[in-house]
């Protein structure tokens, strides 16, 4: 399903965001303009209205003092003097005309349509004329006179439709332009801002499609949330890649390590199947098949543990325990083995060293270290297990006064299935120390082989501070 850039853009979050912003902008500025327009027209209206009301009141006072004659005289005088022309008329309650003064620019129809509050115009009783100027409105005010006649005053004003036309035009131009500009800029900004999201989706898609574990999301240099997302995702991808590499290495090694015992097993089974063989020999071959199977299972279990620890996927069940307790248990387990070889085993511990560790796994590591020491210490020798708090955490040492480990082999002894020349004659899988290393490293610690002051080997386990319980 290929999607072109245009199609992708049409579905993009950026476009939707830009449209949303443009919509909000349009509604906001329309509201603002509407409010301004309304306020402005109201203000103008009020002013015109006030003018005619003042005029109507003034003329009504005149009428009250001198009747229609005085009013007419005043209007004539004003007309002769020039100035702003007002429409004035006085009506009786029956709607008949007492007096009217129509400015020269009024038209008849306009007068007919004038509102007559409280009166009903049934027919026109006067005529007016007006020049060809339709773009005008009028403002009008009425006053009830003492003799119950009704006086009206009116002026022509600029039609607001016409007056505000340039304003509306300007708004349409500015608003439309602003809208377009804000939409374009918004799209650009949103498109740029959502770039990391597209990069993440693209990378994820590429990994899904090709299985390329080396793929990383580009960018992530900034300080924003999206840059943080990109960085976190890259870290996650990196960790996954490490785990997958570790697991596949582990599988390779397992396959390699299992090949030899499987070959032996197959050989023994073939022997049992041979025609004309001695039944007793066949039974013995079958028995060794079972023994090989057990060895294989045992090897598999140990290798799985070692490999899991090396790949960093070994799960630890931490509990708080005195490291001395683990050492004591190991010494107790190997009591007879040590006695058998007349090796003196001594525990060196001055203070309790509580630690948060997987007691079963770390116990296994201590067992292996002791097992190793007992194997390589000559009869009548000495083995010391020392536990003490260290500057950064805790240290556990297994020292002996045996032949020690040659400098050249001190790294190699921790490799899986490594058997030094000196140990070929010894029973074992060559996994003991690699298991120790794997378990200790799973705890975040280190293990090193050095020379012991007693003259033999010293295997030193250093556990980090966070494995040490706060007492």
């Amino acid at each position: 399903m290929a999607t072109g850039p245009l199609q992708r853009f049409r579905r993009s979050l950026a476009l939707r965001l830009a449209l949303l912003y443009a919509g909000v902008f349009a509604v906001g500025s329309a509201l603002l303009f509407g409010f301004l327009y309304w306020t402005l027209t109201e203000a103008l209206n009020d002013r015109e209205q006030a003018t005619v009301e003042r005029r109507a009141t003034e003329l009504a006072e005149l009428y009250a003092r001198g009747g229609p004659a005085l009013l007419r005289a005043r209007l004539d005088r004003e007309a002769a003097a020039g100035g702003r022309a007002f429409f004035v008329r006085v009506l009786r309650p029956d709607n008949s005309l007492v007096l009217v003064s129509v400015p020269p620019d009024w038209i008849e129809t306009q007068v007919e349509r004038l509102p007559f509050p409280g009166l009903i115009v049934t027919r026109p009783t006067y005529t007016v004329r007006i020049p060809q100027d339709a773009l005008r409105d009028y403002a009008i005010a009425g006053v009830t006179l003492p003799d119950r006649n009704f006086l009206q005053a009116g002026i022509l004003i600029e039609s607001q439709t016409v007056l505000f036309a340039p304003l509306r035009r300007a708004f349409a131009l500015a608003g439309g332009g602003g809208l377009l500009l804000s939409f374009l800029l918004g799209t650009l900004v949103a498109w740029r801002a959502t770039g990391p999201l597209r990069a993440v989706a693209e990378t994820a898609g590429r990994i899904l499609a090709t299985g390329d574990l080396a793929a990383r999301v580009p960018g992530g240099a900034g300080r924003g949330e999206l840059a943080a997302l990109v960085r976190q995702l890259n870290t996650l991808l990196e960790r996954n890649a490490v785990h997958v590499r570790g697991l596949s290495e582990m599988l390779d090694n397992l396959a390699h390590d299992l090949r030899t015992p499987l070959t032996r097993l197959r050989g023994a089974a073939e022997l049992a199947l041979q025609d004309g063989g001695d039944p007793a020999e066949a039974r013995a071959a079958l028995a060794s098949c079972i023994e090989e199977t057990d060895r294989l299972l045992h090897l598999l279990e140990v290798l799985l543990d070692v490999s899991a620890a090396e790949a960093g996927v070994l799960r630890l069940h931490r509990e708080t325990i005195d490291l001395g307790e683990l050492v004591y248990r190991a010494v107790d387990l190997y009591r007879e083995v040590a006695e058998e070889r007349r090796i003196r085993v001594r525990i060196e511990q001055a203070v309790p060293v509580p630690a948060r560790v997987d007691a079963v796994r770390l116990g296994q590591a201590v067992n292996n270290l002791l097992d190793n020491a007992l194997k390589y210490t000559p009869e009548g020798g000495n083995v010391v297990l020392a536990v003490r708090p260290a500057p950064e955490g805790a240290a556990l040492e297994v020292r002996d006064d045996g032949p020690g480990i040659p400098e050249a082999e001190r790294e190699a002894v921790f490799r899986r299935l490594y058997r030094s020349d000196a140990s070929r004659s010894q029973r074992g899988l060559g996994l003991g120390l690699s298991m120790v290393k794997a378990i200790v490293e799973a705890h975040g610690g280190t293990v090193r082989a050095t020379a012991a002051p007693e003259g033999g080997a010293c295997l030193r386990v250093q556990l980090p501070g966070d494995a040490i319980a706060k007492a």
């Binding site: 079972i290 023994e291 199977t293 045992h298 387990l333 190997y334 007879e336 083995v337 079963v360 067992n367």
Partner: protein, 224 residues
Amino acid sequence: MRVLVVEDDAKIASFVTRGLKQAGYAVDHAPDGDTALALLDSTAYDAAIVDVMLPRLDGISLVKRARAARRELPVLFLSAKGSVEDRVRGLQAGGDDYLTKPFAFSELLARVQALIRRATAAPEATRLTAGDVSLDLVSRAVTCAGAPVDLQPREFALLAFLLRHAGRPVSKTMILEHVWDYSFDPQTNVVDVVMSRLRAKIDPDHRRIETVRGVGYVLRPSKG
């Protein structure tokens, strides 16, 4: 003695059933938890061998339900998971013993026999005897062919364990569990060492304690 085998793998079920029948037990087989519950409701069993991973109703839930409804029934769990936590979970759920696949049939048999005996037998005698070997649990005196033998504590515990299972093979794992109280295999040769010391004291020519290849050891009840 009637034993219920709850196991969904036909091959394993078949060899366990056949082996138990040869050993003289009446055996019923249930391929899943529901069938097993039905059988447990209608029949009285002396022991049950239950696979932890079963279709639909799993072994641990099955045993919990059976335990909730009924009297004591010795249960041995079978599982492919060998970790310590699984073992603890199985035992907490009401299992009396726990065996990891793959297992030796002889070990399964020995464990089932031990379960049934623990559930049915009268309180253990303070004196264990097999052939000319005799051990007093109270006075801790051991005699072999009439002569007193001086045993170290672990040698004593090992001999007592062998005497309790006289005539039946026991595995190194069982010995580690019962003599050393280790619930996982510490992968050492300590059993061999203590065994050879015990043999040196009561059985220098390997007539009484026999090594069964691929299985473990068996204490022969009589000489020869």
